[in-house]
Each structure stands twice: as structure tokens, then as C-alpha cells.
Symmetry: C2
Subunit: 497 residues, 2 copies
């Protein structure tokens, strides 16, 4: 086979088929986003020579495209948390993240993350990432001010708040507008560039891993200037090549739920090749079915005072959860339509601020009128609103447990937005599955034996974030940068082959 086979991530190259090493390095890193950049810095600072291979012509990855909120806390709180008056207990953070991840939670990984998250904050500050000691009070998906801290998840919402003391953990870079990602990657890139031990090869595509006779990963095949190069990695290879959201076939096969979204979030390189390279040498790819898929119904925060209903006119989720949790529960209902019901006053805010793109499905001077316009069975929306409005007056949402601060009777005139997946509303999505790794970044097989020489971080690995139901903004860049550092440090401690 070997003589005719094309070079593909699903089939590693054997060292016996390597005629010469075109490049040698201690550590080879695939991908120069948040994970790859942080991995490189750590590995270099621990004494290794590092080469990063990036398919694009510049650093960035999906981190640069993101808001670069970073989920951090615990150990009493980061500098920003404490300055803003929040004391953050590590156990509360662990509880929240365990609930968020669900039954597939990796407790060792979550504990390691929470216990070292405050140090991670300090490491980021040390490499020059600026955070302002100020709290952004308004509910937002991304912070458009330069405030340093905000709630970015479901910490204050049912059922999380009932189990873990809420604390804001979304750290936002000290810059106005949605510009955190580019700034963050600029800082990381400058740090990489000033380290002599790190070389970056841009416009270079990683094709497949190279394994020796004992199935250890000893290098990487890359393509640069239309030539295949064999790269020897004396200490190991770190895959930081992103997820697979841009690979339609893979999404359909592994994460079918996501096929209902309409806007993949990621960079063009998120084609799953890093994950496939791992699988080709026996690594376990886990949590591949999970993804983030969302109906981003706020801002404006006032939308939280509206209600979401299905085609039976029923509520089914507390609307003060993180938007990704709401998206996940919408996809799990048997219902052909979903509506966001709000007052005309709230609709004014929506038109001005929202980017959700949902169309008006009906309006009503009375509830009955709206019910009819939406084609709901008579009496159903009336019942839902009667119960809801009574509950608002009493200050307790007996049905879905939305927090009291958001309870305000919905009085006609009312508007209903159509948020049905597939009917035009913005429905962004990305993947949450990847290679199983130890907290050190070492890639493991299905029996959790380490595959020597192979490491993964960021979205190529399956990190602390496991479900749309429990996602919080900042967990992806938090996990990418932290897991990148863990892998970089670990590989640098490995004996050179």
C-alpha cells in the first residue's frame, strides 16, 4: 500500500518510508491559534526548540476571530474578580464546570483547570494581556466596553445557582468593542516572535504524523511550497489544529445535531485533520457528538424578560440561561415552531440592538389575537401567559425557575419572533469533540494508555467544555490557552529521541 498511497491524515507515515529528515525540531506544533501559541511559549521557556506549522499566512486561528473572553477564577478570585468585589471559591467553580460538562465531565481536567486558573490569569498578565479591574453589569454575550469582568454563562440561573455560588468568570481584554481576539493573538504572536527558540512556518499544511516501529509519534509530514517535507520532532508533536466545524461530512457523521445550525463558527482550517491524525495512530476521539449551537437572543438584555415557547404554546426553559443552553433545549423538543414572545416595548430594544435576525411571526393587541396569529391551539398561550404573569407578580417562576430579577408580567400588545431553526434566524454552531487527553495534554487511546510523542490542545483535544447545555463564553479560549500551556510544558520535559 505504502508505495501508492496518497498522504492523508488518516494514515500515518512509517519512519521506514522517510528517506531523509527535511527539518528537525524538539517540538512540532500544528496550528498557530491560541492553543498553539501558548504551547510554543511554554515549551520554549522550558528549554525546547519549537517549530509551529500554520496553514494560513498569519497566526490567529479561531481565537483571533473570537471575542477572546477567558473563563477564569477560583482560589479566592483573580485580581480582577477581587477588585470588583467577587470572592471566587475553587469548589464553586468546579461544581459549576462539572454541572456544565454533564455526565461526560472529565473531573481531573476540570479540577486542574480550576485549581490553576488564577495562576493562568497571572501568566497571561505576565505575557502582556491587559485586563481592566472593572465589572460589566449588563447581560451580554460579548463585552463591547473595555470592562475586565462579566457573567458569561448560566452561573446565576437555574439549576446552576442552586448548586454553586454564582460568580462572574468571563475575563474580557482591556479594549473597546468586540476586539479582544485580534489583540490577544497580537500579544501571543509578539511573545512567540521574540523567542529565538521558536520558528514559525506559515502557509504550511500538516499532512500526517510519522510513527516509528513501536508506534511512537516521531514527526510530521508537512507541505510547503508544493513540497512534502518530513519533520523530525525529537520530543513530540502537539496538535493544535482546531476542530472540525468546517468539515460538513464530518459534522454530519459525528455531530448530527449541528446540521440544524446555519453558521459554522471557526476558521477555514477547522476541517478535523488534527483529530483525524490522532485517530490514525489509535487515539480516542471523544464527545464528538457535542457542539455549541445557539439562538443568540440577547443582547438586548431586556429580551431575558420575554419568554420562549414551542408550537404547543408552552415554555420549556428558563430564559435567563446562557443562550447556548437555550439553543440546546430548543433542538431537543418535538416541535415544529419556536417563538420568542415579548412586549412591544422590548421589541423596540430588539430591533435596535439584536443581531439574531428573527422575523416577526405575529403580533397581538391581546393574547388571544397573538395566539391566533401564530396558529396555536386556542387557550394554550393564554394559559402560559396567565401562569407566567401570576408568577411574575408573586416573584417566583414556578414553571421554569427564571430568576426573580427578570420576572415582569408580559402585557399586550405583544410580538412573537420566529426562532425556529431553519427559518432564517442566526444559528451559529461549533464542535466540542476531540482527542481524549490527560490534563498534561498527552493523547490517549480508548483504554487511556498514552500514545508516546503525541499531544493535543485547544479544540483538537476534548477539553473541559463538553456541552452546549453548559457552555459559557470564555470557556473555549480559556481551555485553548490553558491546555496549550499544559501540553507545551509536558512535551518539553520529555526525553529527546
Amino acid at each position: 500500500m505504502s508505495e501508492t498511497a496518497k498522504t492523508t491524515p488518516s494514515r500515518p507515515r512509517k519512519v521506514r518510508d522517510v528517506k531523509r529528515w527535511d527539518l528537525e525540531t524538539d517540538v512540532a506544533i500544528v496550528g498557530f491559534g491560541g492553543a498553539g501559541g501558548c504551547a510554543a511559549i511554554e515549551a520554549a521557556d522550558a528549554g525546547s526548540s519549537v517549530t509551529i506549522f500554520e496553514v494560513a499566512s498569519a497566526s490567529g486561528g479561531s481565537t483571533a476571530m473570537s471575542s477572546a473572553e477567558i473563563y477564569m477564577g477560583g482560589n479566592g478570585g483573580t485580581r480582577v474578580q477581587r477588585a470588583c468585589g467577587f470572592e471566587d471559591n475553587t469548589e464553586d467553580m468546579v461544581t459549576y464546570m462539572m454541572m456544565a460538562a454533564g455526565p461526560q465531565a472529565d473531573e481531573a481536567k476540570i479540577r486542574n483547570y480550576c485549581e490553576n486558573s488564577r495562576d493562568h490569569f497571572q501568566w497571561l498578565v505576565d505575557i502582556g494581556v491587559p485586563f481592566k479591574d472593572s465589572f460589566h453589569k449588563e447581560r451580554a454575550i460579548m463585552c463591547l466596553t473595555d470592562d475586565g469582568l462579566l457573567y458569561t454563562g448560566s452561573e446565576k440561573a437555574y439549576p446552576f445557582a442552586q448548586h454553586a455560588k454564582p460568580c462572574p468568570r468571563g475575563h474580557n481584554l482591556y479594549i473597546e468593542g468586540d476586539n479582544g481576539g485580534p489583540l490577544f493573538m497580537k500579544i501571543v504572536t509578539e511573545n512567540v516572535e521574540k523567542r529565538d527558540a521558536i520558528t514559525v512556518e506559515y502557509e504550511t499544511r500538516a499532512l500526517t504524523l510519522i510513527v516509528n516501529e513501536d508506534d511512537e509519534v516521531v514527526g510530521l509530514v508537512v507541505r510547503k511550497d508544493q513540497q512534502e517535507l518530513n519533520v523530525r520532532a525529537r520530543q513530540g508533536v502537539i496538535l493544535c489544529a482546531g476542530g472540525f466545524v468546517m468539515n460538513e461530512e464530518m459534522v454530519r457523521k459525528y455531530a448530527p445535531m449541528l446540521t440544524r445550525g446555519n453558521t459554522p463558527i471557526g476558521n477555514p482550517g477547522d476541517t478535523g485533520t488534527g483529530i483525524m491524525m490522532g485517530m490514525s495512530v489509535g487515539a480516542a476521539a471523544i464527545n464528538m457528538h457535542e457542539g455549541f449551537i445557539t439562538v443568540p437572543y440577547y443582547p438586548p438584555a431586556s429580551m431575558t424578560r420575554g419568554i420562549v415557547i414551542n408550537d404547543q404554546g408552552q415554555r420549556f426553559i428558563n430564559e435567563d440561561v446562557y443562550h447556548g443552553r437555550l439553543g440546546a433545549f430548543i433542538l431537543q423538543q418535538q416541535s415544529e415552531r419556536f417563538y420568542f414572545v415579548l412586549t412591544v416595548e422590548q421589541y423596540g430594544d430588539y430591533e435596535r440592538v439584536s443581531y439574531m435576525g428573527a422575523e416577526v411571526a405575529g403580533t397581538g393587541e391581546t393574547v388571544e389575537e397573538l395566539e391566533q396569529e401564530l396558529g396555536l391551539r386556542d387557550g394554550t398561550l393564554q394559559h402560559t401567559l396567565k401562569v407566567y404573569n401570576e408568577d411574575c407578580v408573586r416573584g417566583e417562576d414556578t414553571q421554569c425557575h427564571k430568576a426573580a430579577e427578570w420576572l415582569e408580567p408580559l402585557q399586550p400588545p405583544l410580538v412573537a419572533l420566529d426562532i425556529t431553526p431553519g427559518r432564517g434566524t442566526f444559528l451559529p454552531f461549533f464542535t466540542l469533540g476531540g482527542l481524549d487527553t490527560l490534563p498534561t495534554g498527552e493523547v490517549v487511546n480508548p483504554e487511556r494508555d498514552v500514545i508516546p510523542g503525541l499531544y493535543a490542545a485547544g479544540r483538537t483535544a476534548c477539553g473541559v467544555v463538553r456541552r452546549a447545555e453548559g457552555y459559557s463564553s470564555g470557556m473555549s479560549v480559556g481551555d485553548a490557552t490553558f491546555s496549550g500551556r499544559m501540553a507545551g510544558r509536558q512535551v518539553a520535559g520529555r526525553k529527546r529521541s
Copy 2:
């Protein structure tokens, strides 16, 4: 590594480490359940020598533990379907199975199954499997009479009936009681035993695959009488080793939803080793998150006239669906309790016939009284029942689309059964993920390139059945026996190495 490594399914043995071949055969089959047995018969009939390795001391696998209903139809109908007055169109069967499998459907595999399903029926008859030409009218999970045909899925229920003409496709063996599985495997085993070309090695555990330098699968390591034996398979290895429902760690990692069940359905050998062996040579394991998890609320069929509610007192699913679909939707709600609400008269049937094991959570001479006993918010169950009962009178379930034949107003006195997962109700589950294969049974890698010499069938492969939401009884044994035959035929056509 090789000199110290233990033999484990996650690491294939290299042919260079094989000192001698202890056994040689054309085709090596791992597992003697429905898939393995049918694969062996086909391969032998096509001229190959076959050795089956079975870890237990007898044939059977999970097929023998099942009711052995077999999902078949299309091409105008099987003999039994036609004798019972049903004409079954292949396209209706394809549409139903595609909807059942959802976005992750493998259309090529489903088409191949449906187009050849009537021939499969004939093949089974030819090897001696008896089916009576009679229709079992009563709604049942398994047929306790000797009738040959019954509805075993959601064919007549929303949303399936709206897209594909309903037809019963569950074929039941000609035997009284829930005894189809043992009879089926007795017949298959007799067919295996009378073929000289087939050898069966019982009490023999498959440990790992053997690969040559080109990564072709050329054999298998097995353990028998406390000795490791190297088995050379000249044409290939077929993995028919079941799923992974008995491997708790694997279930948690790959199919976290199933951790909410309480009774794994399978045989003790369902530990995922077949799937791991495939993964170890670069095969794609797909659909690993999916499983069947169910609240088996019928029989008695009269339960279908009851309603299922959540802790908001809401219905959320038509109760005439297959029980596995109801189970799937229960697990997808944000609700801390689930109840089955029925009349006292229906409860009488339940006590007499059901094996669901749900406890009474409340009773009421009036709806208000039951509402209070269940701790539901006042007015909620009243609303649900008012709407439901009115709809029953009108003959149309406007809310959940239960078919008219099941609509009968629920009049107090009422009983509510607690069917909350984790509170005692019988909640059986099994896995639906496995190795990706072509319709031929050839195992493929993530890019769908064939892994030479490796085949899979039954639950070790990911077959036509993909979701609890769309499961129908008979799809597992149907898929196991059919996919076994496909793989057996394919491997027998391969050049001997």
C-alpha cells in the same frame, strides 16, 4: 514498547512479532451471535473456510437474549406481510428508516437494507427460521403469541405516518412466549454446525488484531486455555463482538445520555473490545453517543390512552410512539419529574400486565387533587387535561398529534405513576454506535477509505439504526443478521493472502 506491552485491543500486534501461526483459516469471525453466525454461513457457502471465536461457552450473544423480532419489508412485502394483507413499498420503508435514523442516516446502507430485506426474509426461511402468516393486532413491545407480524415501531405515529405509509415490519418467530431469541440462535447454530467449512472455538477470547507492514489486517490474537494463539486469517477478520453497553467507563465517555438508564441490555461480552480493535487500526467509530434508552410503558396497550407529563404538568410527546422514542424525549427535557397519568381503570391493566415497575406518585378523585398531590403548580395539569380531553372529543390531538384511535378523555379518578429516570422505574438501555462500514461490511477510516482485511457486523458496526428517537423493535436483529451476511459474502470474495 512491543517487548513489554500487554496484549490489548487498543494496540494491534505486528506480524513481525508473530513467531508462528498457531491456527490458519480463510475467515476469522469474532463472536457467535446473530451477526457472527450469519456471516459464517454466508462465507462458508461462498467457499471459504471459517473459524468463529466465541468468548462464551455457547453460541447466542445478545441475539439469543432478545425477542429476535426481525425488521423486514419492502418490494411489495414479505410472504407474511402479503398474507396478512399488507403491501409494503420499498420507498416507504426507506423513508421511515431514514427519518428514524435522523441526520446521521447512512442512506446507502438503509437503501441496501430495504431493497434486499424481502430476500433476507427468504434466506432466513431457507435456513429454517419459521414465521407464521398471521398478524398480531395488539400493540406490544414483544409478541407473546406465535403470530408472525406486528407493528414494532412508530410507523403509525406522528411524525412518521405523515411522511411514509405505515406498514408493520416486525417479524416474529413461530413460537409462543418471548422465546424467539433462543429459537433463532438454535437454528443458526445448527446451520453453522452442519457446515464442515466452519469451526467454532468456544471459550476463546479475541485479544487484538494482527497487522502486516502495510497495515492490512491479516489475523487475530486469541486466548484459549490460558494461551495466546496467533490466528492467520487469509481473507480477513469479521468483528461481530457486540457493542459496549457492559463497559461502564466507555458508556460514560461515549454515550453519556445512557448513564441515566439502570439496566444495560446485552450479554457480558458487550465490552466494546471489537470496536476498540477497529479503532486501533485507524477505523472510524461513529454514532458512539447514541443509544436506545426507554421507558417501556406498554403493554398494556391501554397505557397508550394515558398521557406523559413533566414537572410543569405539560405533555411533550405523542404517547402512541414507540416506547424508545418516548424515553429519548424524556431525557431531553429540563424537568425533575415525569409522570404517566392514567385512569383508575387503565391502572388496573397496568398492575396486571406491566413490567415497568413505576410507583404510584399520586391519585385524585379530581384533577385538582392529583395536581396537588404531585406538587404541580395549580392550574397546570388542569389546563393540560382540559385541552387534552376537549381534543379527544374532537378526535384530534392538536398538541402532540397522537393518532385518533388512542384519544379517549381521561376522567377522574386518576392515577399518576412516577417514571422519572433514577427513581426506580425500569430503564433499560443499549448502545447504537460502532465502527463505520460500507454496506458490504468493509470497515473504513474517517476518510472512508477501506481498511484492508477488516470487516464488522452487528452492533460492533454502526448499522442502519442510529437513534433511540427512531428505534423500532426488530431493527437490531434485522441489522445484525443482514449485515453479518453482507460481510460474510464480501470477505469470501477477497483474494487469499
